[in-house]
Each structure stands twice: as C-alpha cells, then as structure tokens.
C-alpha cells in the first residue's frame, strides 16, 4: 500500500515493484507504472504547484499531457528539467522532484500576495502603467522578471546524448487507443509498412481507463495480441513517443523519450530520440481532451477533470476523493460517478446541466437509480484552500444549495485533439450540440479516426479506425466490442456559468491565471479578434498551450460577440504538440559538433608542429608555427621575414580548384572570369577575378592552361563551395550546349606553396629533373614518387611556387619540401604571415576587400576586365552608380606617427567628422617596419598623399595615416620574376 488514497487492489501498476521518489524534500513510495501525479495523489498530496501570476494553490487537474497546473522540476545537474507535468512523468527509483514558482515554500508562498492585489492587476495591466522612460522601466522590469518564469533555469550542460533518425513508412498511426490500434492492425493486414507512435508508456489509450471486451478478449489481452501481430508483420511500435509536429509533405517528427525527466539513461547514453518520419499516409488517432467548466474556484486543488478522476481510479488504483460532486454536460461523467461509488466514495451530487426531459441512456438510468442526479443543475462555486476542497455550492432546481465534498469531477464535454490535423493544413467542422470542432478537409495524405474525429462510442471507434486505415479493409472484419462497453457521450454543450458565480475566480487558462472576467474585459477594451484576445490576456499561451482552455475561451468570446463559436475564428495550431527539449531537436549538431569541422589533409602533420590554429569557415588551418616562447605576432613576423629574405613553406591545399576540360573549356571560363582566358598559352597561367551577376567581385584566383583543352581554375578557400555551385550553374543552366567538363578537384589536389628568394632552390632540389618554371608558368614532375604539378605563382610577392599533388599522396611531398626549405634556413609559415605578406603586396581577399560591395573598378582592377565583355557581371557593371563620384575605392594607408593602424577602423579627414573610408586589413612592413594597411576611401584613387586619421573609438586607438597606392613592397614587381 503506497499511500492512504491507494485502493487495495486493481489498476495497471505493478504492486510488486515499489518505487521511492522525492517531492519537495519528502520521500514517498509509489509503484512501477505510477505517474508522479498518481503516486503523489495516492499519498494524499493535493497541493502540487502555484499558478503563474497570482500564485494560487493548484492541484492536479488532468491525468495526461494536457495538465496545466501540476508542474514540477525534476532531476539535478546535467539532467535537471523544469516545468515537467507531474501527470506525464513516470516515477523511477531515485526521482527527485520539486514544486516550482513559489517562495519560500509551496505551502507558504509569498507570491500569493499577488492574489490580494488581483483587482488592480487585471489582464494587460502592464500595458497601462510603469511609464517614465526606459531607465525606470528597467527597474520595474527587473522585479517583474524575477516574479515571472516558472521553474528555476537549468545551469549545467546536458549530461546525456540525443539522436535523430530518418524513418519511412506506408502508414504512420499516431495514438494507440482503440481507434489507433484498429487502424494499425488494418493497415498492417493490408500489407503496409506501419509505424505506430504512442506518447504513453503503454499502448491502449482510453482502454487503460475504461477496459472493455474486444473480439471476445479483455482489452489488455487484445492490446497485447495487437502488439504482437504488428511486430510480427514488420511494424515498428514506438511508445513514450509523441508526434510533435506535422510538416509539409507528410513529414511527422516523433519525439521518443527513452528517459523520464532527471533519469539516467541506459548504456547507450541516449536520453531522447527524434524520428523524422516521412509517411505515405498518416492516421491520427489522438483522442479527445475533456474540458473544464466555468465556476468560481474551478482551479482549486481537488477540482479535477472527470475522466482524470476515473483514470487515477482505474489505471492507478488511486481514489482522488472520498466525497465527490460531479458536474457534467454529458454521459461520460456518469462512468466516473459510478466508478467512484464502486470504489467506496460517496457521491454528493451529479450536477447535469442537460435538461431533465431528455432520453436517458442506460448508463444514466443506472446512476439515477443509486446516486443523487440533478438535471438542469450547475455548480456555482468550489470552496477550499491549498489544503483541499471544503465543499461547494450549486444551483439545483433554481436554488442555491450547499454541498459537502472533497472532490469535484468536472466534465464540460470533449474536444477532439485536432492539433496535428491542423498543423497539416486541415480544416475543421463545428458541431453546435457537442460544442466541438472535428477534422473536416485535409490537405495532406492524412485521416483522423476515433474520438479525434468526433466518433462516439467504442464499437464505432473500432470500426472507424479499421476502415479508414486502408481502402482494402472490410467493415465486417473490424474488431468489435461487448455492447455494455459501447457508451456514447450525448454531450449537450453548455458554456454558461451559473449567474451566481463570480467570474473573477472562474479560470479559463489555469496556468496563466486568465479568468472569464479577464476575457470579458479584454473584449470590452476592443481586443476582439481571437488573436488579440489571446495575446492581450495570454489565454492559451502557457506551457499546456491551451489544450483544455482554448474552447472555453472561444465560447466566452463568442458570447461577448453574440456570434456562434466558429465565426470568431481559431488561433493557429503550430508545432510542437507538446513541448520538446531543445536537446533532442539539436541532437549531435551542437557544441563541438555544431558544424562539420573540415580538416585539411595535412592536419595531423601540422598538428605535430603544434601550430596556432585558425578557424576559416568550416576549415581549421595553421595560423602560425611559433618557436619557443614566441607569441602569434612574433611567430608571424619571423615567418614573413623568412619568406622575404629566405624561403617559407605553407599549406594551401584548401584553395578552390576546378579542372575544366573540353574543346569549349576556354569559352566556358570566359563566362566565369572577367579577364581573358582563351589567349593563354599551354603551360601558362594568369590572375583572374570572377564577378557576381550584379557586377560585384565575387572571388579571385588563377587560371592555368595545362593542356590545349584543359584548364585548372583556382579560387579562394572561403569561396570554394560558392564557386563550385556557380560553375555548376553556369555549366548546366547558362551554357548547357558547351563541350566542357567541370570537375571539382578542390580536395583531390593538395598544395604546398614555397615562397622567397630561395624558393627556386627548394623547387630545384626536390624536383631536380624538372626545369624550374618561370613566373606564371607550370610544369609537371615526380617528387618522392608522386606525380606533381608545379605552378609558379606568387601571392607573397616573392618568387614562389605552388606544388600540387593528389591529396592522398601529399605527405611525402610536404615532408620533402619542408625539409629542403629548412635545410637552407627556411621555415613553415601560416595564415598570419600569409596575411602580412599579401597586405604588403596589396592582394585582395574574400572577406576583406572582396566584401560583396566592391566592383572591380573600386578595387582598381578595371584594366584587367575583358573589354569585349561577355562575362557574368559585365552587364550589371554598366549601371550608373558604378561610375558616380564618391565611390569607396581601394587604397593603401601608411602610418605616419609610429602608431599601429587599427584594423577595421574608420578613416576620417579630421577628428569628429564623419568617416570617409575604413581600414580593411592592417599589417606591418616586414623589412622596413612601420604600420601599413589596406582599405577603402571615398574617391580614394585621386587622394594619394593625403593625410588622414584612422580612428577606432571602440578600442581607443588612433593613427595618423597617409594615403598610398595599395602596394608597399616591390612596387616595380621584380622580386617574383626571375
């Protein structure tokens, strides 16, 4: 016996397995199969939490995921989860749980003072006060923020792992109640690949609350048999798995919970799994939510949904009260009343708002024979406190009547769960009598069955699930139930509270403390669109997303408007159906694995040199190779000086590289490149730029004619993927007629650059049989048994070579070159030295001067452009703005006061004037010393020699600069030639 409210036997809990857990510091015992809510109720706990705004005491209202009130925080450290619904947490040994949004304790909560001032803080009160400017608001807001929120935030990184899986099936069935199981069996019988998803930890849905006889078996047996049959035919059954979102083209995201909040996962470490299911057809068997009703104090602990009372009784063997009042507008609540009476509770009254003169079903007649049933009766008010209910008052036969009770079971009818149907783009039909929307038109390949479709009664539900799942299904083969189990709801929706009830304490949205009076006020103030009403009052915006409150709120709005419910509209249903942890959404793609980390093929070789790494987009490349105690700048300066005076070796494998072959290769390249290509002799190369269609420079690189009909095009590392897409677009879409093949060989070729006055010697020593190519020429050779291609091109401004080898054979090539260079006093250099050297030479880079806003004219490259045009970008360059005065043009800046020019700084003509330009990159004159920079300056080409200020207010740095041409080293260009 785990607790005073537990029945001696019955239910689907495993009484042989006691489970101990902690709530608010106190240890309790429950049984395996208990939810946290059922285990606490069994132990006589009635107070579960506090509401958001008024901190009103709240118990548990529901038995499923729709619970608005009983929220707890569970677990600790990297497994801590706030805002868990006690009704949706299955207990496990060692579960640590706490109530939340209360201080200092759940029983005595100072936030409850808000309840006292509630007349002065109606819906939307915060829009009407706290004036006096943003500074004052920040003060008020600080307090508001502390008061708001629910659970305490997590503070630790997640301890567990999440996973995504792709899954495909012919039929996905969501929900495993009678309709869902019948549908899954039917689809499976028709030969479909079936996935069945059930959010509960066990199959059965409503059968877990209302056992029945199906096909001559007890429902437990029938469910077990159905499970076996589905698995035997290759179906996949996922329990504890919620369909969280229904997306375009029948993609449904299922969230499988492998652990409960706070629970340590199994050996594989997985906490949850996200299944991305692409289904041929989706069957939604998601059931219906019971609705609360409007009466004063309808939020007090001890007021529960009727179906939930029955679920606690039958599934969990827990009696939620010993003397109950039932308020209903349908037959279903009579089952609760009879079940409670069977379990030994007394029934103070069944208040049925339906008229007495209706036809009574056998179920109602049975209740009338033994219990006090009042038709046309309404509950006015529940009375009670944090400790539980202390009676109620009702309107019976027109008279206000006091009732003694410790439990109120409420049934305001049922709303089909249409969320996924609506996410899928479906429409709804309204039934005035039952006051419910059910699915009407569907836009995707999807069908709703059972209670979710408004189907009433078990036999109709089984038939509906069976026949809708497959066009092949024969009605007579559908599962059937015993006639006693076939209970219809007979709802006559009645939204009107008793006139005696105070609407200020009649809650619609329990968690957010939105009352019927709030809704009426918002309407009077003109917030009359359903969306305005929702946003102004926060109706339906709590963690339960209005699962129980939405229709009650809509009906209230409809009353104010004097219009029928469907005409006031609905708010949009969007994913997720129930809240989903961010961890399972992200799965592995976060933290260190947020994006792929692309490693150059020589990564391990570099790592052995212990370089300083630099992230470049997805790539990781060596930035410098410090020696001894050198810092980055010292290392980079030494490396660049070595290149200028001796020789340096660097890895340029990540550059974009494209093999362009075929008789039309030159024609193709002249679409891509803004320079001439066709006139290149075999064995020669040249610098080139590529433009976007809008005329701006997209990238730069080199183009080499390796054979008469074969070229090698290089481009920047950062722009390589974009360039690959661009080449493919031009090849396949713009010029499909050309006889040309374009192969992306970026990662086929690894490349080692050798630069410096001694570079020629290095090349000669490692490729002795090859004549060293002259500048912008190429040759092939064999290096350490590896076929190589040597391109004589200079980025540093020194005589330089790029030696290409297949990336799977680059190791020996790199080793030989590095050794040869080191043998004559050379060194390795990284991206930082590369940057210093290129600034000195005024070479532009993507992300620096190639900023997506600069035209070739702005970059001083007009002379390179092919006069005949015909390349991409040429046409758009004719737009007038490209020729107008005031363009930002690329220049050099030289510091004249010894200060370092701050990178990224603004360039001014005088202090306190608006900028006339900016610095894109700054470095130092490697040999002479002194700070130099590249940048843009308004009409800069004509301002050489002008004195300006480079100003960085964010770093408090200033340098006086002189405008120069954007080249600081070997202006005549003799160093890189022979």
């Amino acid at each position: 016996m785990s607790g005073p409210m537990r029945l001696a036997d019955g239910g689907l809990i495993d009484r042989s397995r006691a489970v101990s857990f902690v709530f608010d510091g106190k240890s309790y015992q429950g049984y395996a199969g208990d939810s946290l809510a059922s285990a606490l109720l069994a132990n006589g706990v009635v107070l579960f939490g506090r509401s958001f705004k008024y901190h009103r005491p709240r118990g548990v209202m529901a038995a499923g995921i729709e619970e608005p009130s009983a929220l707890v925080q569970a677990g600790s450290g990297g497994r801590y989860e706030p805002n868990s619904r006690a009704t949706d947490v299955f207990i496990y040994d060692g579960l640590q749980s706490q109530s939340q949004n209360r201080w200092p304790s759940l029983g005595f909560d100072l936030g409850g003072l808000n309840s006292l001032i509630s007349p002065f803080i109606p819906a939307g009160f915060y829009y009407k006060t706290f004036f006096g400017g943003p500074k004052l608001w920040l003060l008020y807001e600080q307090l508001i923020r502390q008061m708001a929120g629910l659970g305490m935030p997590p503070t630790k990184a997640d301890a567990d792992i999440y996973e995504h899986r792709a899954a495909f099936c012919d039929v996905l069935v969501v929900g495993s109640g009678p309709a869902g199981l019948a549908a899954a069996l039917s689809a499976s019988a028709a030969g479909s690949r079936v996935i069945l998803a059930e959010q509960d930890e066990r199959l059965g849905g409503s059968l877990l609350t209302d056992p029945a006889t199906i096909d001559g078996l007890s429902s437990d047996q029938w469910i077990a048999k159905a499970r076996e049959s589905l698995i035997a035919s290759g179906g996949r059954i996922l329990t504890r798995t919620t369909a969280a979102g229904y997306y375009d083209h029948d993609l449904v995201n299922l969230v499988e919970r492998l652990t409960e909040p706070g629970q340590t996962p199994g050996a594989d470490g997985l906490a949850q799994r996200l299944w991305r299911v692409r289904a041929g057809k989706v069957i939604l068997a998601t059931g219906a939510f019971e609705r609360p009703r409007l009466f004063e104090g309808n939020d007090l602990p001890g007021v529960m949904l009727s179906g939930a009372v029955r679920t606690y009784l039958r599934r969990y063997g827990v009696r939620a009260g010993s003397r109950a009042v039932i308020t209903t507008d349908n037959d279903d609540a009579y089952r609760t009343a009879l079940a409670l009476a069977d379990a030994g509770s007394s029934i103070a009254a069944i208040l049925d708002s339906r008229p007495a003169d209706g036809v009574h079903s056998p179920l109602v007649q049975k209740a009338m024979a033994q219990l006090p049933v009042y038709f046309g009766a309404k509950l006015i008010a529940a009375k009670g406190s944090a400790k539980g209910l202390k009676g109620a008052s009702a309107l019976i036969d027109g008279k206000v009547t006091a009732l003694d009770c410790d439990l109120i079971a409420v049934s305001g009818g049922f709303s089909p769960v249409v969320h996924l149907h609506m996410q899928a783009g479906g429409t709804l039909a309204w039934d005035e009598l039952s006051g419910s929307f059910s699915p009407d038109q569907t836009r995707q390949n999807q069908t709703t069955v059972g209670a979710a479709a408004g189907v009433d009664g078990l036999s109709a539900t089984l038939l509906n699930g069976w026949t809708k799942a497959s066009s092949k299904a024969k009605a007579k083969a559908a599962p059937t139930c015993a006639s006693d189990d076939d209970v219809a709801l007979n709802i006559i929706a009645d939204w009107e509270p008793a006139p005696q009830a105070s609407l200020k304490k009649a809650f619609v949205d329990y968690q957010n403390d939105v009352t019927a009076a709030d809704l009426d006020l918002a309407w009077r103030e003109g917030y009359r669109s359903v969306e305005h009403l929702k946003r102004y009052t926060t109706l339906g915006m709590a963690t339960d997303q209005g699962k129980t409150s939405n229709l009650v709120g809509l009906a209230r709005l409809a009353k104010s408007e004097g219009r029928p419910v469907p005409s006031v509209g609905l708010t949009t249903f969007r994913p997720p159906y129930t809240p989903v942890t961010l961890g399972v959404l992200a799965a592995e793609a976060t933290g260190a694995h947020l994006d792929p980390r692309r490693r150059p093929v020589l990564y391990q070789t570099h790592a052995a040199e212990q370089p300083i790494w630099q992230p470049v987009g997805y790539w990781h490349r060596p930035r410098a190779y410090p020696m001894g105690t050198e810092n980055l700048h010292q290392a980079a300066h030494r490396e660049s000086l070595t290149v200028r005076t001796k020789v340096g070796v660097t890895d340029v494998s990540t550059l974009g590289k494209f093999d362009v072959s075929g008789p039309d290769a030159a024609i193709f390249l002249e679409l891509i490149c803004a320079t001439t290509v066709g006139k290149l002799a075999v064995g020669r190369g040249r610098y080139t730029i590529m433009l976007r269609e809008d005329g701006m420079v997209m990238d730069d690189g080199t183009v080499w004619r390796t054979q008469e009909n074969r070229f090698l095009l290089t481009s920047s590392t950062g722009g390589a993927d974009r360039m690959a897409a661009h080449l493919s677009y031009v090849r396949k879409v713009i010029a499909p007629h050309l006889k040309v093949a374009v192969a992306n060989v970026q990662e086929h070729w690894a490349a080692v650059a050798v630069a410096g006055p001694l570079a020629k010697d290095v090349v000669a020593s490692v490729l002795p049989q090859m004549a060293v190519p002259r500048h912008m020429s190429l040759d092939v050779g064999d290096l350490a048994g590896v076929p190589t291609l040597t391109l004589a091109a200079s980025y540093s401004g020194e005589r330089a070579f790029e030696i290409y080898a297949p990336s799977d054979q680059i190791e020996p090539v790199w080793a030989a070159i590095a050794k040869a260079a080191r043998d004559i006093g050379g060194c390795l250099y990284g991206l930082e030295a590369l940057e210093i050297l290129r600034i000195e030479k005024g070479h532009i880079v993507v992300g620096g001067e190639i900023d997506g806003r600069a035209s070739p004219h702005d970059l001083g490259l007009s002379k390179m452009l092919r006069p005949a045009g015909g390349y991409i970008g040429h046409t758009a360059l004719q737009r007038p703005a490209f020729a107008e005065p005031g363009r930002l043009q690329m220049v050099g800046f030289e510091a004249v006061d010894g200060a370092a020019i701050p990178e990224g700084s603004m360039v001014l003509t005088a202090p306190k004037t608006l900028p006339v330009g900016h610095v894109t990159a700054a470095g130092l004159n490697v040999i002479k010393g002194g700070s130099i920079a590249l940048g843009f300056l308004r009409d800069g080409f004509s301002r050489t020699g002008e004195g300006l200020i480079a100003w960085s207010p964010t770093r408090n740095q200033t340098a006086k600069v002189k405008v120069t041409a954007p080249v600081f080293y070997d202006v005549a260009g003799v160093q890189y030639r022979d």
């Binding site: 899986r165 470490g269 792929p596 692309r598 093999d659 075929g662 192969a743 990662e747 799977d808 680059i810």
Partner: protein
C-alpha cells in the same frame, strides 16, 4: 584500420587505397557509351546505379558523369583508356584524392545510415548496385551498395574524420543498446 567492429551488428573499415577517376560525356552519348562499354567490359550503370566491370567499380554520380574506382596499379592505364574511348565526346579527370571511402558492413548498416540522416536507407529497393548521394550529419555523402550486407560511403577527406567519428560513436551506441 578497423574503426568499430561488431560483426553481428555493424563494422566500419577504411579499405585499401584505390584510384578514383571521374569521366563526363558531353556529346554523342550513345556512341561514347558504346565505346566505353567495349573497353570497360560492360555497359555503364544507369542513373543512380553502380556495377562491377572487370576489376573496376563503376558508379553513376551525376547526369552524364561516372566515377571509376580501380586499384592504384590500374589507375593510369584506366585513365588513358577512358580518355581514348571518350575521344572528343567527353573527358576524364583523376579524382583519387577528392573522396575518402569507408566500408560499412554487417546487418545493421541500414540502421546506422538512418542516424542523423534524411535518406531512406532501410528501403529494400536500395539494394546492391544502388547509388545515392545525401547529407548525413551535415556532411556530403555518396553511398554505393556493394551487397545486402555491405555499403561503401564516400565523403571528401576534409569531412571524413568527423563523419567517420560520428558513425563510430553511433555504432557503439547501437552495440550498447543491444
């Protein structure tokens, strides 16, 4: 090198090095394919298909474009043969360094390939001789089904360490969950 070995479930192996050659046909497709079939010893695999032709593995990769995997020893000869057979109707390019291959074998290879994926690797029609390009764990992947029990996965070398690591971890999880 074996990265993960659960023979009853899934095994990941980096196979011996091979040469990868890409060729593309731009004109007179029928004749060019005929010439290639003759020198390769069989017709080129169709769209999204792969086949063993002699000692080479032929993989359709994109429209009018195939990948040939041969042994390192045969590489140069195959390249020359392809180039000759293509004549003026296409060209061939050595891509040996552009992709890394991982062999995934064992009964759970299909399950492994659904992790972090958007592709239906469990579909029985994706059987031996099928090729699919897709995105797994944010990395570009090309899959070539070798047999019911085995698939080759190709990815650029820069993505390979992360992707193969991802699969190793996933394979270990599958093993732990057994």
């Amino acid at each position: 090198m074996t990265n993960a070995a659960h023979p009853d479930l899934v095994t990941l192996q980096t196979p011996d090095p091979s040469r990868l050659l890409r060729f593309e046909i731009w004109s007179d497709h029928e004749a060019a394919q005929g010439r290639l079939a003759k020198v390769l010893g069989g017709p080129l695999p169709g769209v999204c298909k792969s086949a063993d032709l002699g000692a080479a593995r032929l993989i359709w990769v994109e429209q009018n474009t195939w990948l040939v995997r041969t042994s390192p020893a045969d590489g140069d000869l195959t390249l020359a043969t392809l180039t000759a057979a293509l004549g003026q109707d296409g060209s061939a390019t050595d891509m040996s360094g552009a992709l890394r291959r991982l062999r995934i074998s064992g009964p759970a290879w299909r399950t492994l390939l659904t992790i972090g994926a958007v592709f239906d690797a469990e579909n029985p029609t994706f059987g031996p001789g099928s090729m699919a390009g897709t995105l797994i764990a944010h990395s570009p992947v090309r899959l070539d089904v070798i047999s019911e029990d085995c698939v080759d996965a190709y990815t650029p070398p820069s993505y390979a360490p992360d992707l193969f690591g991802f699969w190793c971890e996933a394979a270990e999880r599958l093993a732990m969950a057994r």
